[in-house]
Structures are given as structure tokens and as C-alpha cells.
């Protein structure tokens, strides 16, 4: 009998645990020549906001030791252009698609979701385990302009309120993506669960900064940026370990996954699924290698269902 790689998140069933992370896979078409989309557990889109956003000033990226610091900003065409220009292709992909949503106010998040829901119609009944837009990932690392610019995701009360207002407008899978830039990620995960999230994903990038000492300038035009890549792997694994012990809903792990061992660390720490971000830039075969390596590990350890791995940490 072959292993069961499927992942259940609320009502949703993903074909396998290895997705590609928001902002690192564009809208899919960019990597089509290099990555077989049909083998992805889920494709998380670049963040969508209500209005089009050009993104931050340049330079936007710089390499740090085992890390990538970026300040892309929420560069995206806005929800209307997304629906006309990107959605048709996304609906035709052979893998589940999850739309990453961002905003500067609660109202903005809500408007994006409502607009997409209005276009897609309510979710078909039964278990949606096929392709199509199967859910939303809410990026709460955005600064809340009404709360002095501190990110939504640093305050449990804001996370709970935002989650429950989004919950009210969709039956699709609702994932809240947590920021690691907090003292107690468990309390934020619990707030997302209380607000009605089907899952939480973590981690988003760590706040970081790099300076060109010759030029005496920050290397990023925005001064600080978000740190991703292998450097943050141990931080992500610790966050998943804590978040998965704080909530009953599934946790999706990401941050620094470059190969199967890294992904297995997340699954053993308590994640139900993982996402590959920066690892795809470095090697576009990473998602496929990770999936194959999880399969081999399961075989070597006589594990029949990927869902069982999270209980296997000694």
C-alpha cells in the first residue's frame, strides 16, 4: 500500500504537504517552465491588496549570511486586475491555489476577500480536494495604519477581530499567517483560532537590516526588510513547535526550508504541512525534492500517513 500524503485542513484536503510560499512563486506562470505545478500541495499567491501597489523603492533585496533580506513591499496589481488578469490561469492550474491577502486596515482585507468571493461564488459542497482557489492566507505582518503602524500580527486582540470578520465572509479555508516578531507566538495563534481560522501558517520574515559600510547607506531603500532563508530555519521550527502546542487547528510551517530534512523538522515540530519560499529561488527543484524526501523518510520509518508525523517527536 502506498503512503497517504494528503493533508486535511478544516474541510480542505491538500494532495500533499509541500506548498510554495507567498511572494516567492509569483502567480505560478513564472516558474511553470521549471516546476511541475501538478506536484505542488498548494500554491500560495503573492499578496493581493485592494488597490494596485507598485511595491517599495529599489534596491529591494540583499543577501545576508545564509539569508535573504527583502523589501519588495506588497507589489501587486490590486484585486480587480488580479481577478481579470491572474485568476483565469490560476483556476486552470493542476494544483490547489491559496490567495494571500494583505491590507493596511481591517476594511481593506475584508474588501479583498469579499471581492474574490463575489467572483468565485460560494464554495462547492463536498470535500474540495481538487485544484482551484481553495482558500485564503491572511498576511497579518502588515503594519496597521490605524494602530500606529505596528503589525496586526503582534496584537492578539487585533488578530482575533480581523480573523473573525474575514471568517464571516468566506466558507473557504482561512489560514492566518503569523509573524515571528513577537514575544509569544502561542498567544497570537490562539487568537487566530478563536477568530475562526482553519489553520495558522508560520513564519513570515524576521525584521532585519543590512548596511553598505562603504556607501554608509542601508542596503535596502526601505532601511529595514524581511529576513528569509536557511538563517531563520531554527526560528521557524521553534515557532511551529510553540504554535502547534497552543492551538488545536493545523499549523503550516515555513522558513528556510532547503531540503527534506528541513521540512521534516517542521512536521516533527508539529506542522501539518509546509511551504518552500527562498528555497525555490536557490533551487527550483526544492519543492519536488522535499516531497520525495518526505516520502522516503516515511517509508524508512514505516509511516503510512503524513498526518502522523507530527505526533512522532520523542
Amino acid at each position: 500500500m502506498s503512503a497517504d500524503l494528503s493533508v486535511r485542513i478544516g474541510e480542505l484536503v491538500l494532495p500533499n504537504p509541500v506548498g510554495v510560499a507567498s511572494g516567492t512563486f509569483g502567480y505560478g506562470s513564472e516558474y511553470e517552465a521549471l516546476v511541475e505545478l501538478g506536484s505542488l500541495g498548494a500554491l500560495y499567491t503573492k499578496a493581493i491588496t485592494l488597490e494596485p501597489r507598485p511595491g517599495n523603492d529599489v534596491p529591494r533585496i540583499v543577501e545576508t549570511p545564509s539569508g535573504l533580506l527583502n523589501s519588495i513591499g506588497l507589489a501587486n496589481p490590486g484585486v480587480e486586475a488580479f481577478l481579470t488578469d491572474k485568476l483565469p490561469a490560476l483556476l486552470a492550474y493542476p494544483c490547489p491555489v491559496i490567495v494571500n491577502v494583505a491590507g493596511a486596515t481591517e476594511a481593506e482585507y475584508l474588501a479583498v476577500l469579499q471581492r474574490i468571493e463575489a467572483t468565485l461564488g460560494p464554495q462547492a459542497s463536498g470535500h474540495p480536494d481538487g485544484p482551484g482557489i481553495v482558500g485564503y492566507e491572511v498576511n497579518v505582518s502588515c503594519p496597521n495604519v490605524k494602530h500606529g503602524g505596528l503589525a496586526f500580527g503582534t496584537d492578539p486582540a487585533q488578530v482575533e477581530r480581523l480573523t473573525s470578520s474575514l471568517r464571516a465572509v468566506t466558507k473557504r479555508c482561512l489560514i492566518v499567517k503569523l509573524t515571528p516578531n513577537v514575544a509569544d507566538i502561542g498567544s497570537i495563534a490562539r487568537a487566530a483560532e478563536a477568530g475562526g481560522a482553519d489553520a495558522v501558517s508560520c513564519i513570515n520574515t524576521l525584521v532585519g537590516m543590512a548596511i553598505d559600510v562603504g556607501q554608509r547607506r542601508p542596503r535596502l531603500a526601505t532601511v529595514t526588510g524581511g529576513l528569509s532563508g536557511p538563517a531563520i530555519l531554527p526560528v521557524g521550527v521553534a515557532c511551529v513547535y510553540k504554535a502547534s502546542r497552543a492551538v488545536g487547528i493545523p499549523v503550516i510551517g515555513l522558513g528556510g526550508i532547503m531540503g527534506p530534512e528541513d521540512a521534516l523538522q517542521y512536521l516533527l515540530a508539529g506542522a501539518s504541512a509546509v511551504q518552500v519560499g527562498t528555497g525555490t529561488f536557490v533551487d527550483p527543484t526544492t519543492p519536488a525534492r522535499v516531497l520525495a524526501g518526505i516520502g522516503s523518510w516515511m517509508e524508512a520509518n514505516s509511516v503510512m500517513r503524513v498526518a502522523d508525523i507530527r505526533g512522532m517527536l520523542r
Binding site: G26, R60, I61, S66, N70, A75, T278, D283, P284
Partner: protein
Amino acid sequence: MKQFEAEIISNRAVAPGWKELVLSWDKGAGQPEPGQFLSLRVSPRSDPLLRRPFAFSGMSEDGGRVSAIYQVRGPATSILAELAPGSAIDAIGPLGRGFPRPGPGELAILAAGGIGLGPVLFLAKSLAASTLVLGFREASALPRLDLPQGCVTCTDDGSSGFRGKPSEWISRNVPSGLVRLYGCGPAPMLAALAGLAAERSWASSLSAEQWMACGVGACMGCALRRSDGAGYLRACSDGPVFSADAGRPSPVDWNPRRPT
């Protein structure tokens, strides 16, 4: 575009701090054009982490080998410089949009400086006729390469050929007329070339450099400011070559100033 394990055929020094890499090429990846590039992962470890982009400097007649000329600058190029022939390297290409052919009647003027040498040499080889102008710091930086006959060399200190920048040579020696100005090199050179083309109403096709993370258009990291102020274009997939014609200004802003 394809990802594959290329074999290093040779990796020889061509000038102090400069090397020429020759790689086996998987024809299934498609045929590289001048101005396009490939991205290499120089080490399986995580420092350095990101792939590095290098422009093609040529292709063998049978399409089975490609080359790139590179400058040893930092960690990745230092590691690359140590790789021995016979070793394998993870390559993705061809990437980006290359140089367009000259329009009917257009005289092709090609200018290169610094790491722009490779793509411009490749372009020169692919054109029946062109004027090739290469800039170097000084005579000792001239590479040991078979440069096309009649190519103009410029040095900052006049120690070989014309004393000055390629843009200065072109500005003094190329008469007005139907010209397409091609260029690749450091940002100030691109700005000078773009200015010259605008002044003379020449068409231009310039290749931009920008830090890259994905190299395929997915991350928006390699953004270049649009000249019309309406946001950004991607160096890796909208470019790296951007063209301007009589009626159509350059889509990107070649002015290297940074806002404060």
C-alpha cells in the same frame, strides 16, 4: 528555459581578476541569444545562498557549449573561480530578453564596460556588421580574448587606445544618422549612453544590472524604476535589455541616482 547540471569545460583567467567560463549546454533548454543570461548556483552550502546571474558571452557553433566572462568580485565569483574543469554546476537558462536585431538600415554601435563585455562580444559575433567600442580602466585590464577585428578600445588613462569612456568615443566619432546604440556596463555608462541616444535621436538597447533573487520574474526583487513613474519593471524577465526608439522612450529610468 531549463534547469540542468552543466559541466565546466574550462575556466581560465583572461585578465587580472577576470575569467572566462565555458559550460556544456543542454540544447533542450533552448538557444541562448545575446543579452540573455543564465543563473548559476556556485555551492551547495547556504553561504553564499542565492544563484548568481551571468550573461552569455558566446555559444559554440553546434550549440553544445556556452561561455560567460566574469569578474571575481565577492564570495560567489571567488568560489566559481576555483571550480575545476570536469566539475558539475547547477545552471538555469536562457533567462531574460536579449538584444533586438538592428532595424532596417540601422547602424549597430555596441558599447561595453566592465562586466558588460561578455554580452556585447556575443552580440557583435551575431551581427554581420557593427562598430564595437570597449572600455577598460587601463591597458593591463585588456582581456586575452580574440576581440573582433577593428574593435575600438578605450581606457580611462589612455594607456591603450582612446583615452576616455566608450560614450565619449562614440559621441565624437559616430556621425548622426540611423543608429541603434547597444550597451552593457556600469550604471553611469548606461546613463551616459541613454543620454547620448536621446540627444541624437538614436534607437537604443541597453542591458540593466540589478540584484536578483529568483531570476525568472517571480519575486519582484530585481525591480527597476519605470521612466514614466508608474512603478517598476523586472530586470530579469521584462529585461535585462530595454529599448527606446524614436517614438517610444526607454521604459526604465537609466539615471542611477538614488532618492533620499
